[in-house]
Symmetry: C2
Subunit: 253 residues, 2 copies
């Protein structure tokens, strides 16, 4: 039974997509079968993995709104052992269409449960909001992984996020736990980064991953080649730290 | 009659808030009366301007959902000539509550029109989504300012954003124009930044501001002191480029 992990934080640009792609790829490199579900209408996880979205006839939208089996939209990526359920611009319509749908928060869960046994890990990349797409992801997930940028504004949104997770645990998914909090874009040259690390560790005692992802330009270049960091530049600091993180996630099992 | 400018882009972390605060502050420094409307439940524009959000009894939520006059929630900031209509965590409920409200896209416009004559510029900081809060901002605005990060994923979301702007122009606000596209977090040391600049200029001929905001750690430190960059570090590259941008915006009038 695969573990379903929602990568969520409504603060924008904190490395949700970068983490879903690269942690997923590093776990695949270690022999796990991994699926990335692109639950963000921006479709960054799909294009970051080299999927040509304009050529797709179906995507996650068809699964969530029209009940198409998830199996039908899953594609293989360049990385062995790593598959993706892509998103296209069509998914942007899902938030509004879900509002009046029956059992609207459980659509993604039902879809993912049908393929769950085929994978060891399933990562759901979330959009930067706490709307119905993210609620669907938190309802489908066993665990939530929360990336936090080492910047001042990163601390602001945490209470909003934790409120939402508590609501989901109370009304939609009592089994949901926090897998961990991941510090990203750490810049050792700035005091700000160090201050944020200390504050986040104080805020989430025992839940912050030891691996801290440094700011590394190779991580931001990799998606323009449609590759995960381990294919684009396997010796980079970015690849090294996401491999460390993969080992930590395996230890937590 | 003040000019109303929505700062919007559904891609997260591209410097919407940083641009609203600092462009606003630089225009105030030149003698203009400026208002920042924090239309994002994260409330980053409010805290970045030193507002203690936990002490507030009213915010933009009360204006949009309960019809409170906008005038009632406007506060003075540390920067002379710069005021803010703050957001608190309550605003997070507005997206869902607006869905079934009458004339739901025009709530913010009606509120802002009531104070418009008291300001030269009114900036609306948007959340990283294309939901009802951003639709309200684009309906209330004369112009849209689009910050774009010099990163690969920045190009991805542009068609989604332009689709939304076209829909707003067709059905909600025919007068809406694009004020300009602002390139942010430019890092001259990386090829990626240079490639993105070229692609964006090709995509928006004649609409890209000459001023390109460099990546500058002082810009990310300023909000932790509740100050705009011109108060926190007036001689920094960040302050210099936002002042240049302010001059360009004045030229466009
Ligand atoms: N450690 C890193 N070092 C340098 N750049 C990074 C790093 N992690 C992510 N990036 C870059 O920062 C930007 C934001 O990251 P990403 O898009 O993964 O965040 P996100 O949280 O998924 O954003 P959104 O909220 O829009 O979904 C991207 O351009 C990405 O390539
Ligand atoms: N030119 C810059 N140089 C360095 N850091 C910057 C720059 N502009 C913004 N930042 C920092 O980058 C992060 C993202 O910026 P900001 O929060 O303004 O983006 P946003 O688009 O408003 O994000 P969101 O989508 O969550 O609303 C912040 O921590 C900010 O301090
Ligand atoms: Mg993303
Ligand atoms: Mg913002």
């Amino acid at each position: 039974m695969g573990q379903i992990i929602a990568v969520a934080n409504q603060k924008g640009g904190v490395a949700k997509t970068t983490t879903a792609i690269n942690l997923g790829a590093c776990l695949a490199e270690l022999g796990n079968k991994v699926l990335i579900v692109d639950n963000d209408p921006q479709g960054n996880a799909s294009s970051g993995l080299g999927i040509q979205r304009d050529n797709l006839s179906q995507c996650l939208y068809n699964v969530i709104i029209e009940g198409e089996p998830l199996e039908e939209v899953i594609l293989q990526t360049e990385t062995p052992g790593l598959k993706v359920a892509p998103a296209t611009i069509q998914l942007a319509g899902a938030e509004i269409e879900l509002v009046s749908a029956i059992s609207r928060e459980h659509k993604l869960k039902r879809a993912i449960d049908s393929v769950r046994d085929n994978f060891d890990y399933i990562f759901i990349d979330c959009p930067p909001s706490l709307g119905l797409l993210t609620l669907n992801a938190l309802t489908a997930a066993d665990k939530a992984l929360i990336p936090i940028q080492c910047e001042y504004y990163a601390l602001e949104g945490l209470s909003l996020l934790m409120n939402t997770i508590n609501l989901v645990q109370k009304h939609l998914n009592p089994a949901l736990e926090i897998l961990g909090v991941l510090l990203t874009m750490f810049d050792a040259r700035t005091n700000l980064s160090i201050q944020v690390v200390d504050e986040v560790k104080a805020h989430f005692p025992g839940k912050v991953f030891r691996s801290i992802i440094p700011r590394n330009v190779r991580l931001s270049e990799a998606p323009s080649h449609g590759q995960a960091i381990i294919s684009y530049d396997s010796k980079s600091r970015g690849a090294e730290l996401y491999r460390e993180l993969a080992k930590e996630v395996l230890e937590l099992e």
